[in-house]
Symmetry: C2
Subunit: 196 residues, 2 copies
Amino acid sequence: MAATETLTAERILEATEEVLRRYGPAKATVVDVARVLGVSHGSVYRHFRTKAALREAVTERWLERTIVALRPYTEGPDAADERLTGWLTALFTLKRRKAGGDPELMATFQVLIGENSAVVQRHEEHLVEQISRIVEDGHHEGVFAAPERDYATTARAVFDATGRFHDPAHAADWSATDIEDAFAAVVSLTQRALRA
Amino acid sequence: MAATETLTAERILEATEEVLRRYGPAKATVVDVARVLGVSHGSVYRHFRTKAALREAVTERWLERTIVALRPYTEGPDAADERLTGWLTALFTLKRRKAGGDPELMATFQVLIGENSAVVQRHEEHLVEQISRIVEDGHHEGVFAAPERDYATTARAVFDATGRFHDPAHAADWSATDIEDAFAAVVSLTQRALRA
């Protein structure tokens, strides 16, 4: 590192992701992270008190990128039904790209995700909140029915019903030849369920 | 075995399931199966030409039990929408019971399922055909809309949309406290999608 650069949490997280990718989650250590940054491991521990806390923060940062990428779909001006299809398609595309584009990083994060189930649960809640906002907008716009106005339950059902296209447990299916058709059919089913 | 009993394929499959449960899929051999039956391993090979063929047949038999158990829901006299909810509930119940009731047998079949992906694919097709029949009946009864009369595509979408509640990849979720609510919400979403 350039000696003049300040050691921020963000820089440590970047370096940690790089170290995890390079050495794998079983071997990567805080000392490796410090070495990449040209600092002592004590400097790293001043930002993250334990190795577990550092790994959790890396996991959170990785998942947060998905939330940020999907945010545009949670707001107008497009109609809510179009935004829902856009959101679901963008999530599927992101997940496929992650799974297919950098298999080593994906395998690494599969391990981290297994270690940090609370982080994953919060992440799922964020995703469900995004769907919930679209469903609520759709109700106000008159494109979605919301018989009980229970947007959160409906949003969770949409999230679960589309799980085959975003849950990493199904990543092996995502290169199947008929996966696009299967995705389109489930999105269409979901839209029919919500339609006013 | 009683010497008078005829060695049938069915008896070999029963014994194989027992041997797999007892020794685990990594250790179970055709010789073990023959020993349980009190016959030579040559007698077993006369019915199943290879160990792989025997394991495939055991997998098929295990999965077929699910098809048989669900068959009542594919026929009247109940209305198709009730039968669909019944079918989905019965499948979820069966899968949960299998996963929770006999974890060793479940782990064994997870291995066999991994070895026999063509068998699993045929099994899924049978399940989708059962849904398809219910959807078609519902259309004729007037309880389900079927805008394009493409029952197979709709049925596959219903199968995929409810995957969290029957795909063994999600078995770890099935003891969660909110799983019943999540299931009810997805079934309700599916029913809203199909409703005429």
